[in-house]
Amino acid sequence: MNPAAAPGFEELFDPAFLARLNALTLRIGTAQKGGRLADQRTPARGQGSDFADFKPYVAGDDLRTIDWNIYRRLGKAFVRVFEERQDLPVHILLDVSHSMFVETPPRIGPAMRTVLALAAVALAQQDAVSLMTVGDDMATVMKNVSGKGGIARVAQVLADQAAGGRTGLAAALDRLAAMPLRRGLLILVSDFFDDAGLEGVLDALGRLPHRLLLVQMTRTSDADPALLADLDGDLVIEDGEHDGVAVTVTPELIARYQVAYRAFSDGLERFAARRGATLIRMDADRDVLDQLMPILASGRVLP
């Protein structure tokens, strides 16, 4: 079986699509300090416009930050301390396994547009964006790109992707956890169907030091397979990664599938709630931005 092709560069690098992203921001509660000056709030104290606290003056402090009103009342010199906004390391991990390409149309298209949208927002707010793909193995295809000018590069990198074998998501996440990366935001865009099972993926996600934004690529028929017109009679169901599953479709079988799917979906949801991660269920059949904008427009993606 030949997997469907990923969207081309022109298809991804759509000005109208990118224009709609201007109003969006990607904020997390607090980024780790130590980065470049940017827009993300951090625990770092220094230059900035957001007042944070007072502290007693010590030699060497900037005299411009002495609060003279306090000195007049108390006779002691205190200086104002400001919150320093820095950049956020955004690590985007895109699932390019066969299962993302297997359908017609494939899920990889909306998945790439989701990645492009999130990367564009991050780049617009001067965050450092790294892009990795996972199939049989994990590959870093773009590292620490910042600035709006990087969006074209992201689109090009995405357009170059092809189906990458079976999903090795759990193993890839373990590798990612072992990499000496500045803590930031990990955006995982996947269908979450992995050889290690959902439990294996969630265990690996739990070991990551980053904040998590999980984007699950779904279709309505995943939860309700009766919507599939071809799901009837004797079938072989293939995901492009394993031997086909021979099934004879009966209402009993569909009911068992729905039970399995609910367990899968609930497991992902419970993990996100427990871990403090954000789970976005992206319907591959609907417009990506229509689904992203209500979430990103709220200002904070993660608490």
Binding site: M1, S99, M100, V102, E103, T104, R107, D191, F193, D222, P225, L228, D230, L231, D232, G233, D234, L235, V236, I237, E238, D239, G240, H242, G244, V245, A246, V247, T248, E252, L253, R256, Y257, V259, A260, Y261, F264
Partner: protein, 523 residues
């Protein structure tokens, strides 16, 4: 085991064909469509959670079940081979009797009788029918419950035989249970037989051969040693009869010997259609007699028999042959003295007959032969031909005591096995001083011993011809008396019609099922 429906060749061929069809159906099994979904893993999990077969649960495929059930039941009913009952059958056991006697030889009577029989048998339920052949033992051609297709093959091996009908004797021995006998043969034989039929039996007729107009035939033919006493000659007795009109005369008879026309030296008319041909050469030839002008019933128009070889036995008298034996051979006209090379039997001392591969009468002595009389031949030690005929050879009248006194030795008889026949006796027994030589038994013993050695059996009675009909048959063949109507059992429809319809219907439903499966209307 017997395969009643088809027979082995058809059964095996059918098995091979079914194996091929099942194989093709396996090859043609439903092709699963491929559906590409990333959720295949969850479907696999759902399949693992599903039990392989569930007996309980809601039954959903009622229409498919009813369709398959209908097919199976139709096939099962077809396997039971239902037949339509004939309206002519009376509900009793039907015994079909096929008379293959000489009455059925004219034209294609037997073939037509077979066809009528087969049609009637097929129109009769298998459990209420049996078919009997009119031979000597009343061979059962079809037992109750057997398939009519077996009868067809068995009838192929039946031919009419030149012998009288046995329908009457069979009818007298038939069971007393209520049954209907359906007769296929000649009206003449049936008319004679049905007069004494049991009241529980009724006789119907499936086929009656047409009567032959003005039949004449040979009803007896036999041969006997010539009354003239000539050795090597025989008299032949022939009896003729005519159904209507005058019986054939001697001039109407044509005689043959080994297929060549011969004219007997003298034919005597004995009256009542009997004739004797005198002094025919009895040399082992095939004697035939036929009516010079045949008629429509050929079975009694000719008869044949093989004459015995009554020519004088050629005997070679070699060294050591006593004078008494020479005298007996010379005086017996059934024996002819010839040189050793032409002889059928040789006589002489053990040294004279040694090396000659012919039956021999050996004149020996007590030193080389323990018993006075010794008979040897194949299987004689175990009670062969000669062992039971010592009396016929004349030994019963032998005065063994006087002979023993004269020879000063006990007299005994020995019978043993040997590749070729031989008779041994002490030369002294037939010596000049032996009382045996003076006895009237001696020439009888010598003559009959030589005849036995030459393979000649006694010929004391008339040898009748085989394969001959009788007077009743000749007259019955021309029986033009009013005859009952023939009542065929076959109806307008073949009795196998229900069976064929079931198969046809099952085939149609199978086609419908296949069409529904192809259209994905049915799982």
């Amino acid at each position: 085991m017997s395969v009643t429906q088809f027979g082995w060749p058809v059964t095996v061929a059918g098995m091979i064909a079914l194996a091929g069809i099942v194989y093709l159906l396996q090859r043609l099994r439903t092709e699963r469509r491929v559906l590409r979904l990333p959720t295949a893993g969850l479907w696999a999990q759902a399949m693992r959670d599903s039990p392989a077969r569930v007996l309980g649960g809601r039954f959903r495929y009622w229409l498919a079940y009813l369709l398959i059930l209908a097919i199976v039941l139709l096939l099962w009913l077809a396997a039971a081979h239902p037949q339509a009952a004939s309206s002519a059958a009376d509900g009793r056991m039907q015994l079909f009797y096929l008379d293959n006697s000489a009455l059925m030889t004219p034209g294609r009577d037997l073939a037509q009788a077979k066809r009528a029989l087969l049609a009637d048998v097929r129109a009769t339920p298998a459990d209420r029918r049996a078919v009997v052949l009119g031979d000597a033992v009343g061979t059962r051609l079809l037992a109750p419950g057997e398939s009519a297709s077996l009868l067809s093959r068995r009838l192929d091996m039946i031919a009419a035989e030149a012998r009288p009908s046995r329908f009457g004797s069979w009818l007298r021995q038939a069971g007393r249970g209520p049954a209907t006998i359906r007769y296929y043969g000649g009206w003449g034989a049936a008319r004679e037989a049905v007069g004494s039929v049991s009241p529980t039996l009724s006789v119907r007729y499936g086929y009656l051969a047409d009567a032959v107009a003005d039949n004449r035939g040979i009803v007896a033919f036999g041969v006997t040693p010539a009354a003239s006493g000539q050795v090597g000659k025989a008299d032949a007795l022939v009896t003729v009869a005519a159904a209507h009109g005058p019986a054939p005369t001697a001039s109407d008879l044509r005689w043959t010997m080994d297929g060549r026309d011969v004219t007997p030296a003298r034919i005597e008319t004995l009256g009542s259609g009997r004739f004797v041909a005198r002094d025919l050469d009895a040399a082992g030839g095939m004697l035939g007699v036929a009516l010079a002008r045949g008629d429509g019933f050929a079975a009694d128009d000719s008869a044949r028999l093989r004459l015995a070889d009554r020519r004088p036995l050629r005997v070679a008298l070699l060294d050591g042959t006593p004078a008494a034996v020479r005298a007996v051979v010379a005086a017996d006209p059934s024996l002819a003295v010839v040189p050793g090379a032409q002889a059928q039997v040789v006589v002489g001392s053990p040294g004279a007959v040694r090396g000659i591969d012919r039956p021999a009468l050996i004149l020996s002595d007590p030193a080389s032969q323990s018993q006075a009389f010794t008979f040897a031949g194949q299987g004689e030690a175990d009670g062969g031909e000669v062992s039971g005929r010592l009396e016929a050879l004349g030994l019963a009248r032998l005065d063994a005591g006087a002979l023993a006194d004269a020879l000063h030795r006990p007299i005994g008889v020995d019978v043993r096995d040997a590749r070729r026949r031989s008779v041994g006796l002490w030369a002294g027994i037939v010596g000049p001083a032996s009382p045996f030589t003076q006895s009237p038994v001696m020439p009888i013993f010598i003559s009959r011993s030589l005849q036995w050695l030459g393979g000649r059996e006694s010929w004391t009675s008339v040898d009748p011809a085989g394969g001959l009909t009788d007077r009743a048959t000749t007259l019955a063949a021309a029986d033009g008396a009013p005859r009952p109507a023939v009542e065929p059992l076959g109806g307008a429809w073949p009795s196998d019609l229900p069976f064929l319809l079931l198969l046809l219907l099952a085939g149609i439903l199978l086609g419908v099922e296949w069409w529904l499966v192809q259209r994905r209307v049915m799982a």
